[in-house]
Symmetry: C2
DNA sequence: CGTTTAATTGAGGAAAGTCAAGTGAAGTGG
DNA sequence: CCACTTCACTTGACTTTCCTCAATTAAACG
């Protein structure tokens, strides 16, 4: 299956999950849940703020709160048996997190920029859901999205060489910006290099070298630590999507 | 968080998803759905059979059927941009697959042994769900489990060395056998070496070497291609769970 | 402006990849 | 039931990439 085709389809198809009742688009459901009923929501939610670097919750804690990001970026991570931190996903405004587990959280989360978020008590949300089962599909959709995203991440992790890994990552970030309706002239990277390395399964040194390599080959331009511009789109795409490219 | 503690908790906690209505255990729900109401189910499901190696559905096809395995093993895979096959997950009896996408399947699946499965038309299942929203939580639970499993897989993929990778994989298989109530004297591997390599993100050669290494070091005994016995449990555990072990 | 944190770069070594040849198991047809 | 073909797996030789450790430079922050 071609990549372009897949991307287009993803945009068309992910809107609706036809096997679910309450066949609303995600955008519409987000509106209904988080914008249309502020007054009603206020009863079960509050606004939480986190400083940069602050831990939000940890793997294994009892699951009591669920969050929806208003502004900022969050990293979800696990520690592997060998003690290393592995970032599972980055979360952006409108993303929902905290509900992927059962009785306890299954990942840890940390604010990597200052974060403002809605905070729901899990019990209140449960009641809300049983009163209005249609909103269910919103959550299921979100979880399915997360699942699909995780599978793509696994694919990324098993790529062999650092250059295509990084190019694919940058492309994913760009895609996400597009989805959120932001400009894609520049790619914005709110996280530190270490975080990217932990997401891609590379050492910090290797990641840094790869940034330098892509920059030296004039494929990307590193405006500053948080902003990257794609210069040579053709080679860039080849790297991200290409067959068996190394550097 | 300690590993042993985590495993115990996983067993205790995953049974119920308290933020869901219809707070039934997974085991109970499976019974209700697939054993208690055979007659009712017969109307919306049929039995499907697949030969070893047969493709069940492909990534990108329109999602029309959902399956529950009765006997046999299925591999779910994606092809990455560089053309390589990457196995996302192995599926065993009672596992559900096909519903993780929206309008289309998001992975391909293939029978790696002869497979017998219930086959549901997606549309029929949708009706079933809207009539009985409580069964919803069964599906959500399954998806959350899958998500959690995928995250563990990602962790596995980003481990550096092949020996701990393989040990962890074997341990996962053992754990799964335990969950299914099977004996754990031997680890049964229904899939080919190639499949394991594609799951672990290793070359076939590297995987084979690692099997040989563990065997030479008398950590495991390879009774035959499909059956492995753990001899030195202590070293084995250290490999699978240990900090910074290489070989 | 100085101190701390984040990121880049260099040198050396180790693990896994690739290519290729060889062995073992399984399945088929006479 | 055995010979033959095919497929699955193992092992060897060589190459490459990334990791580790360490030193240096750049940016952020008080």
């Amino acid at each position: 299956m071609q990549k372009g085709q897949r991307n287009r389809r993803a945009l068309e198809d992910r809107e609706a999950y036809p096997w679910l009742p309450g066949n609303l688009s995600r955008e519409a459901l987000h509106k209904v849940l988080f914008e249309g009923k502020r007054a009603q929501l206020a009863q079960i939610s509050s606004i939480a703020q986190f400083k940069k670097g602050e831990n939000i919750y940890s793997d294994g804690e009892v699951l009591d709160k669920i969050f929806v990001i208003i502004t900022g970026t969050v990293a979800a991570y696990k520690k592997s048996q060998d003690g290393k931190k592995h970032i599972v996903t980055f979360l952006y405004p409108k993303d929902l997190f905290g509900l992927w587990g059962g009785r306890r959280y299954i990942v840890s989360t940390e604010a990597i920029t200052p974060v403002v978020a809605y905070s729901f008590r899990a019990s209140a949300l449960r009641q809300q859901l049983s009163r209005n089962p249609k909103t269910y599909s919103y959550f299921v959709t979100k979880i399915c999205d997360q699942l699909s995203q995780n599978q793509d991440h696994a694919l990324l992790l098993s790529r062999l060489y650092s250059a295509p890994k990084l190019a694919t990552f940058l492309n994913m970030q760009r895609q996400a910006q597009l989805m959120r309706g932001e400009s894609t002239d520049e790619i914005y990277l709110p996280m530190r290099r270490t975080d990217i390395a932990e997401y891609l399964g590379l050492s910090l040194a290797a990641l840094s070298r790869t940034f330098s390599l892509l920059s030296a080959r004039r494929i990307i331009k590193i405006r500053n630590r948080r902003h990257v511009i794609i210069i040579n789109r053709k080679v860039f795409e080849k790297l991200a999507n290409g067959r068996r490219t190394r550097k």
